[in-house]
């Protein structure tokens, strides 16, 4: 069983399910616990990997770092220097724990997409991106209120430095964009990228497997095997691309969280 759905391999160029959610929803591991699926296991595993990297990287910490420590340190410096201090500026190091958490959690969640035998990014389930986007929303709104008081919303609705005639219009756009579009786009961006990647990879590689296997079994003709080979080559190309996407989306989510926090903490920029 390569794909979870029936495929009319004789008549189609590529197997596709009628409903895309069969690629994302799994049967329960135990029949008695209907909600516990593979996804839960992978979410916890992503968290454990993030914790494990830091734990094993810092367990025997030395001034001259070992391999694990070097990886943990570069992840830390990447977020601390490259994102927190660089983007937020003064006081940015206060947000390093949160930014490092979301970066590592999303990174490991994404990397499951291109991990052989796992091949399922937990960030392609809306639960993770939505939750993290809402947490980021709370952080930047609370940071804005802490910095500017309730004038934070006032500045959004009545933006300074804009001609008076345009103020209501710009204010409404700004308010909607900050309060609603930001968390929405943050969550959907991550979700959509990983969903698209997962669909492409599973359909291309799954179809390739079915066609080539059918040819070997003698059920399908040579043309189908060739088509399967083409899908496989394309799938491998996309696989490599998805490794980049997995990293880039984790980076962009973290970077945009930092940028949003920065606009709240230093509104003058």
């Amino acid at each position: 069983m390569i794909l979870a759905f029936e495929c009319d391999a004789e008549n189609v160029a590529m197997c596709a399910p009628d409903d895309v959610s069969v690629l994302f929803e799994f049967h329960p591991i135990f029949e008695s616990i209907p909600w516990l699926t593979r996804t839960h296991f992978l979410i916890v595993l992503a968290a454990l990997l993030a914790i494990g990297l830091m734990y094993f990287g810092l367990r025997k910490r030395r001034l001259v770092p070992g391999k694990f420590q070097l990886v943990a340190e570069s992840a830390f410096n990447f977020v601390d220097q490259g994102i927190a201090k660089d983007v937020i500026g003064k006081g940015g190091e206060r947000y390093t724990p949160y930014l490092l958490s979301i970066f590592l959690f999303i990174l490991f969640g994404n990397m499951f997409e291109v991990t052989p035998l796992v091949n399922f990014p937990v960030t392609s389930r809306m639960a993770i991106p939505a939750f993290l986007a809402i947490v980021t929303w709370f952080i930047f709104v609370i940071a804005g209120i802490a910095k500017q008081g309730l004038g934070y919303f006032g500045h959004l609705l009545w933006p300074p430095g804009v001609p008076v005639g345009l103020k209501p219009l710009v204010g409404i756009i700004e308010f909607i964009s900050t309060i609603f579009v930001r968390p929405f786009s943050l969550a959907v961006r991550l979700f959509a990228n990983l969903v698209a990647g997962h669909v492409m990879l599973s359909l291309l590689l799954g179809t390739a497997g079915i066609f080539v296997w059918g040819f070997i079994q003698g059920d399908l003709g040579f043309g189908k095997a060739l088509t399967g080979g083409a899908w496989f080559i394309l799938g491998v190309g996309i696989f490599v691309f998805e490794i980049l996407v997995a990293f880039l989306q984790a980076y962009i989510f973290t970077l945009l969280s930092a940028v949003y926090i920065q606009t709240s903490v230093h509104p003058e920029h």
């Binding site: 660089d86 983007v87 964009s177 579009v181 930001r182 929405f184 786009s185 943050l186 959907v188 961006r189 959509a192 962009i252 970077l255 945009l256 940028v259 920065q262």
Partner: protein, 75 residues
Amino acid sequence: MDQAAAEALKGALAVIGYGLAAIGPGLGIGVLAGNAVQAMARQPEAAGMVRTTMFLGIAFTEALALIGFVLFFLA
């Protein structure tokens, strides 16, 4: 009307709708990233600021494509 045909038509329309929704953001992100690269090439010392602003702009522009993506599933 045939139920299956209606479903297929709905799916096809949703795909076309998403394709249309992706045109604008695609062009916008292209222009935005191109100009950001120019700005960084002209003033490499401002690269950090340009990059941050570029990502912010991409985030705004991309929101439209993301709304299209959501509507594709809602359809």
